[in-house]
C-alpha cells in the first residue's frame, strides 16, 4: 500500500526539462556577467594606478631620506668621536710635556 503510494509520488514528481534553449541562455548570461566583471575590474585598476604609483614613490622617497639621515647622523658621531680622541691625545700630550719639563728642570737643579 505504502510502496504503491511512494511509486505514485515518484511518478508525479518525475523530472521535467526546462524550456527549449535554457542552457544556451544560461551560458550566454554567464559569459556576459564574466565580461562585465572583467570590465568593471579594469577601470578600477586604471583608477588605482596613479595612486599606487604616488604611494610607491612616497615610500621610496621616505625610506631614502630616513637612510640618508641615519648615515649622516652616524658620520657626525664619528667625526665628533674623532675630534674628542684628538682632544684627549692633545691633553695627554700636554700633560706628558709638562711632566717631562718638570723632570728635566729637577735634574738641572740637582746637578747645580
Amino acid at each position: 500500500m505504502n510502496e504503491n503510494l511512494e511509486d505514485q509520488i515518484r511518478g508525479a514528481l518525475r523530472r521535467q526539462d526546462p524550456p527549449e534553449g535554457f542552457a544556451e541562455r544560461i551560458v550566454h548570461q554567464a559569459e556576459s556577467a564574466r565580461a562585465e566583471r572583467r570590465e568593471a575590474l579594469q577601470p578600477g585598476l586604471r583608477r588605482l594606478w596613479p595612486a599606487a604609483t604616488l604611494a610607491a614613490t612616497s615610500v621610496l622617497v621616505l625610506s631614502v631620506s630616513i637612510e640618508y639621515r641615519a648615515v649622516r647622523q652616524e658620520r657626525i658621531q664619528e667625526e665628533r668621536a674623532g675630534r674628542q680622541a684628538i682632544q684627549a691625545l692633545r691633553i695627554a700630550s700636554e700633560k706628558l710635556n709638562t711632566a717631562r719639563n718638570k723632570i728635566l728642570n729637577n735634574n738641572v737643579l740637582n746637578k747645580e
Binding site: N2, Q8, I9, L13, P18, F22, A23, I26, V27, Q29
Partner: protein, 168 residues
C-alpha cells in the same frame, strides 16, 4: 573543450534536476526557470572551488533548495501585501473536481505541504535521495527528515483516500 563549452555541458547535464526541483516546489514554470537560472549563474561563479562532480550535484541541490524557499517567502510577502490572507485560497485546498489525474492531485497535495516537508518529499521521491543525504543537503537532523517523510506520506494517503479518487 573551452571553459564555456564545459559549463554548457554541465548545465545540460543538470538542468532537468535543478528546474524540476524548483518547479515541484514552486509550481510555477517561469519562476522555477528564474530560480534555476540564478542557481546556474551562481554555480558559474562558484565552480572554481567545487572539486568533484559529486560536490557539484550536492551544491546544486542545496542551492536550489535554499533559493526555492527564499523565492517562496518573497512571493508570500508580495501576495500578502496585495491580497489579504482572508481572501487567499487555503493552501491545502482539495484538488478541483475536474482534476481526476492522480499525478496532478498528488502534485497539488505535495505543493500544499509546508516548505521543509515539501522539500524533503521532493528530494526523496524526485531525486531518490536517502534520508541521511537529505539531512545533509538541508542541514537538518536525520530524525526530523524521517518524521517529515512519515507525516507527509500519512497526510497524502489520508487526503487521497478522503477524496475517493483512488483506493489506496
Amino acid at each position: 573543450m573551452s571553459e564555456a563549452d564545459a559549463f554548457a555541458a554541465l548545465v545540460r547535464q543538470h538542468q532537468s534536476m535543478v528546474f524540476s526541483m524548483a518547479y515541484a516546489f514552486l509550481r510555477d514554470r517561469s519562476i522555477a526557470e528564474e530560480v534555476a537560472q540564478d542557481v546556474f549563474l551562481e554555480l558559474h561563479r562558484t565552480l572554481p572551488v567545487l572539486d568533484s562532480p559529486a560536490h557539484i550535484v550536492n551544491w546544486l541541490r542545496r542551492a536550489t533548495a535554499h533559493r526555492s524557499i527564499d523565492r517562496q517567502r518573497r512571493r508570500r510577502t508580495w501576495l500578502r501585501f496585495f491580497w489579504p490572507m482572508e481572501q487567499a485560497p487555503e493552501p491545502a485546498a482539495p484538488a478541483a473536481q475536474g482534476d481526476i489525474l492522480l499525478s496532478g492531485a498528488l502534485r497539488q497535495l505535495i505543493a500544499s505541504l509546508p516548505d521543509k516537508p515539501r522539500l524533503v518529499m521532493i528530494l526523496r521521491y524526485q531525486e531518490d535521495m536517502e534520508a541521511a543525504e537529505i539531512a545533509d543537503v538541508l542541514n537538518m537532523p536525520l530524525g526530523t527528515v524521517k518524521s517529515h517523510l512519515q507525516r507527509s506520506l500519512k497526510l497524502l494517503r489520508d487526503k487521497l483516500s478522503r477524496y475517493g479518487e483512488i483506493s489506496i
